[in-house]
Amino acid sequence: MEFEAVIGLEVHAQLKTKTKMFCSCKTDFKDEPNTNTCPVCYGLPGALPVINKRAVEFAIKAGLAFNCKINLTSVFSRKNYFYPDLPKGYQITQYEIPICEGGEVKVDENRAFRLERIHLEEDAAKSMHKGNKTLIDFNRSGIPLIEIVSKPDMRSGKDAYDYLVQLRAILRYLDICDGNMEEGSLRCDANISVRPKGQKELGTKTELKNLNSFRFVQKAIDYEIKRQIEVIKSGGRIVQETRLYDDRKNETRPMRSKEEAHDYRYFPEPDLKPLVITEKEIEEIRKKMPELPLEKATRFVKEFGIKREDAHLLTLEKELADYFEEVAKLSGNPKTASALIQTELLRELNAEKKSVNECSLKTETLAKLIKLIDNKTISMKIAKDIFPEIYKTNKDPETLVKEKGLLQITDETAIEEVCKKVLEANPKQVETYKNGKEGLFGFFVGQVMRETRGKANPQIVNKILKKLLEE
């Protein structure tokens, strides 16, 4: 029997506001533990929540970016449960009427995953589990979150990965969330079930938690799908439960938490009237929407003639996209700009775990390097050789090339001399070549390049060698 997996993701994104969702405590995660709390955070008697305007704006921005329907009136509710990270005994969230409904995350031109809803809520405190005790820092409790709930449209770990990459890129373009999974500003839970292909009803689902990178999400989901199929094939049944992913073992196992009843007894938050937004406010926000990653990628393809896959990769981070765009314009050669940025620049940045913002190589300098290749002053190979040094020092490429004596040799007489020398030094190979072993051509080119320490213009070398060998 063939099986099909059904996957839905719940993503919690911490909003980049200065203050919490319902009080003016600060949200800086670098602050000392337990210093950003107040009576509202703890739900002390008499304390009243007041909604953060910017958090609402951010949720609307997300709604617009994902093409959701924005509800002009939405309602906050209390979700009641006891847990040490929730000092009030309830979380203020949106239940029946969320701020955004529907919508989709487009992952490329013709692939999208639908959304169920996006709602506003407050974060819980941070718990550190240490053997026989749990320590709590309440700074995080009350930080604004949007929960982005997908429809169960995904079918594989790869689908989930693509969805998350695009979702994160968009949140970062909107500048409403850091999207940092390691620091927990973006968190993802996955609901997974399997069913025989063609069957309509859904199978019993499990929920995966503790997924702290996109790659782990992908691997954990693929593992869980396999596990569920094996359980069913061997005559077992799936138990509805929460499972944790262990990245070291690449497996999931049941989370053994204290037994608790799930009965949230939602009711409308009595301390908050409905959240009412006007069309005008939405239009104001719409006017300020930035160009989003996929739109930018499409524009790059059209404007710069680069490949779609390249445009995709270059636009996932806005800063990188801006960097590329500047180099492309300054150098007048977008293709080489794209190639050098994706291979050389990203390699150097990744090695140092730096973002493009922290890059000391200026766009002007990289553009100059590209121009040196284009006007045949240096070869691509030399450009790549000196790249690490230019990256580190931001030194003027032309000066560096001169200092190192790396100017490309384009003088045909000079190159012809070297070619002749090479052929004379290797009479046996020349004979074998002339007898039909044309693969040896590369050998001759290599020898000439070695003689000239990579400086000879490859096109000219090819031309001259061909001519000499045919004589």
């Binding site: 506001t17 200065k18 203050t19 009080c23 003016s24 405590c25 600060k26 000392e32 533990p33 337990n34 210093t35 950003n36 709390t37 107040c38 009576p39 703890y42 007041v50 909604i51 953060n52 305007k53 910017r54 958090a55 609402v56 009136t73 309602v75 009641n80 449960y81 006891f82 847990y83 040490p84 718990s127 550190m128 589990h129 053997g131 026989n132 005790k133 749990t134 320590l135 709590i136 820092d137 309440f138 196992r253 989370m255 053994r256 938490s257 204290k258 009843a261 009965d263 007894r265 409308p268 009595p270 908050l272 009237k273 409905p274 959240l275 009412v276």
Partner: protein, 100 residues
């Protein structure tokens, strides 16, 4: 009308309260009485009173600017907690460690 035994236990569990088997009958009767008491509200004829349909959930909420204000001192916060370790609030373990 008394509420069911199971409901009493369920509510106790949600509230993290331990209750004694011997008290269940009493609680079940008392909780039923509270509900009956509230039920009386349904007997009032409000058909002529339009204002009574107003709820606190009409109108719209006031929004706050995103400007930081004062928070409580950490000492104050920690003094409210039943147990503290260093600069954290300490609670019994939430997740049982997997035996490795």
């Amino acid at each position: 009308m008394a509420i069911e035994r199971d409901t009493v236990f369920h509510i106790a569990k949600l509230a993290h309260i331990e209750i004694d088997e011997r008290d269940v009958e009493k609680f079940s009767r008392q909780m039923g009485e509270i509900l009956d008491y509230i039920e009386q509200l349904n007997e009032v004829d409000i058909s002529e009173v339009s204002e009574s349909l107003r709820s606190i959930h009409e109108g719209s909420v006031f929004l706050r600017e995103d400007e930081p204000g004062a928070s409580l001192e950490r000492e104050t916060v920690l003094s409210l907690a039943p147990e503290v370790e260093d600069i954290f609030v300490k609670v019994p373990p939430v997740i049982k460690e997997e035996s490795k």
